[in-house]
């Protein structure tokens, strides 16, 4: 289990056999006492979530729409805001695609290959989740920055945006594809082989269709993570508007200069994109479950 699981397992399904059914008899067993405990707990939980998450997020959307949709649209269409959003979305899409391929390759190697030190490699995959993003930016800057021992200096360029995002999104596709690959029935592949299919044909017709939902889901999660990233890109891209400034960094700059209205506009645009991706992923997951 990794930190992807909280996201991946979002559609919480109550299990009537495990959870709900005995709740009623139990309530009766409690010497006929009214169920104050759960109601109080529920109230507290909703209050906690509202005060910390829901009301503040609603305030961002509210602030962005304060002067109407036209003002919101023109705020995100200013040249530097639009450039930041465009860079963020394009870079995140490219990073998601690279992850789609490399994540699947890594998952494949971790499941089907065997070599000394595989356990260590497997454990390393989760490191970007555990590592603070500012440290991620710093370590990348050490190898690919001005003092690079490899003489590769891509700091403060658009390549560094992609590099930072690749680092922080590494685990997503690996950790969604890996368990599916482990569960995959090898009988089908053997049947394909015995019927004369080559390795490529087997991969394309047997393995890929089975992995596709997990691959798409992982890449989608990597994309939402990438558009939100701030810490590593902030350090690695030096915040040059119209060139290397990603959306989150641009929001930060606007908060610093007290322009909360346009910060809220860009934030709302980011929230909308993330929301759209997550809804699409949920549809993909249902489609995958139906095929399953």
């Amino acid at each position: 289990m990794t930190t992807t699981t909280p996201l991946a397992g979002s559609g919480l399904r109550p299990d009537p056999a495990a959870g709900d059914a005995p709740a009623e008899p139990r309530a009766r067993q409690q010497r006929g006492r009214p169920r104050v405990g759960p109601a109080l707990g529920l109230g507290t939980a909703v209050l906690y979530l509202s005060l910390i998450v829901l009301i503040p997020l609603a305030a961002v959307v509210w602030r962005s729409q304060e002067h109407g949709f036209g003002a919101f649209w023109s705020a995100i269409r200013t040249p530097d805001a639009w450039a930041a959003l465009e860079l963020t979305l394009v870079a995140s899409a490219i990073v998601a695609l690279v992850n789609l391929v490399m994540g699947t390759v890594i998952a494949w190697v971790l499941v089907r290959d065997s070599f000394p030190g595989k356990g260590v490699v497997d454990a390393l995959i989760d490191l970007p989740f555990a590592l603070p993003t500012i440290v991620a930016g710093l370590v990348l800057l050490a190898l690919y920055g001005p003092n690079s021992p490899l003489h590769i200096d891509v700091a403060y360029t658009r390549i560094s945006v992609g590099l930072a995002l690749l680092f922080v999104t590494l685990p997503f596709v690996v950790r969604t594809v890996q368990p599916v690959l482990q569960e995959l029935d090898r009988d089908m592949e053997q049947a394909a082989h015995s019927l004369g299919a080559g390795p490529w044909l087997t991969f394309r017709r047997i393995i890929l269709p089975n992995l596709a939902p997990a691959m798409v889901s992982g890449a989608g999660l990597a994309f939402t993570r990438a558009i939100a990233e701030y810490g590593s890109t902030n350090l690695l891209t030096a915040n040059i508007p119209l060139q290397t400034q990603v959306a989150a960094v641009s929001v930060f700059a606007r908060i610093e200069s007290d322009d909360t209205t346009s910060a809220a506009a860009i934030s709302t645009a980011l929230l909308l994109v993330a929301f759209a991706v997550l809804v699409t992923l949920d549809l993909v997951r249902r489609w995958g479950a139906r095929r399953g």
Binding site: M1, M102, L124, P132, V135, E229, F275, L278
Partner: protein, 262 residues
């Protein structure tokens, strides 16, 4: 042949993206021995930043653990309208950019915002001080404990709990003696994940803290500030400590991880 090509591609990718950068920072940090590292770590600002990080993380983990256990039990063991909506809303923080989290909190709890202004006039400054940083940290790590416990609670079922009830045990006793031991591993896993996220949070805390050196500066903010001021020794030393903590946390989660990832 294809097998070796794939293995090579995967390992080279990980080498250049993960292993070499991290190794280089470790090497540069300890390259001149432990002395300069210890000096950099014991400057008053570094010590203060570590203390701030620790206290913010402890409060946030404590709050999210209480919320997480309570909410997971409500989601799995009870039936009420709107349960699915709450289940979905809990995941929301994972999709929000840390900077947006900071902005959201400023818009509600900032000194010039209605709620923040009211709190401020009653002597509680939220933004640019510790309470705001704790709120920001709670926000970003909110789903981790809930999401670790929910699947285990579902799997456990209610047989033992119902048995405890029929034998006359009250709700609290059942929780402490039956439910809690059952979810112990998952709870540990969730708490450790939450702690990792809390110690490493940067963006949201950068917005709400005001980044006052020696006051609201956390360890991650310290790394950034030292680096921007060309004190690479100080930045690398604290970054290395944070990286080592991350590695330890990673090993601990492997310990708590009960079985194959789902």
């Amino acid at each position: 042949m294809a097998r070796h090509a794939l293995r090579g591609a995967a390992l080279v990718y990980l080498l250049f993206l993960l292993v070499l950068p991290l190794g280089l920072v470790l090497w540069r940090t300890f390259g001149r021995g432990l002395g300069p590292v210890i000096d950099a770590l014991t400057t008053p600002n570094a010590v203060h930043a570590s203390a701030v990080t620790l206290s913010v993380a402890v409060w946030a983990v404590l709050a999210n653990t209480l919320f997480g256990v309570g909410t997971a039990i409500l989601l799995v063991r009870h039936r009420w309208p709107g349960k699915r909506v709450l289940g979905a809303l809990i995941d929301l923080p994972l999709a929000v950019s840390p900077v947006v989290v900071g902005l959201a909190l400023i818009l509600v709890y900032g000194t010039y915002a209605p709620v923040g202004g009211w709190l401020d006039s009653h002597g509680l400054q939220v933004v640019f001080s510790l309470p705001g940083m704790v709120l920001a940290t709670i926000f970003v790590s909110l789903p981790l404990v809930v999401r670790s416990i929910v699947p285990v609670l579902e799997e456990l079922g209610t047989e033992q709990e119902v048995a405890a009830y029929t034998l006359g045990s009250g709700p609290w006793q059942t929780f402490w003696r039956i439910t809690l031991p059952g979810i112990r591993g998952a709870l540990g896993y969730g708490v450790v994940l939450c702690l990792a996220r809390a110690l490493g949070e940067y963006g949201a805390v950068a917005v709400v803290s005001g980044r006052l050196v020696g006051q609201t500066q956390t360890a991650t903010l310290f790394v950034e500030e030292r680096y921007q001021n060309f004190d690479t020794t100080g930045a690398f030393a604290v970054a290395t400590v944070l990286a080592l903590i991350a590695i330890v946390i990673l090993l601990v989660t492997k310990l708590f991880q009960p079985k194959e990832p789902t």
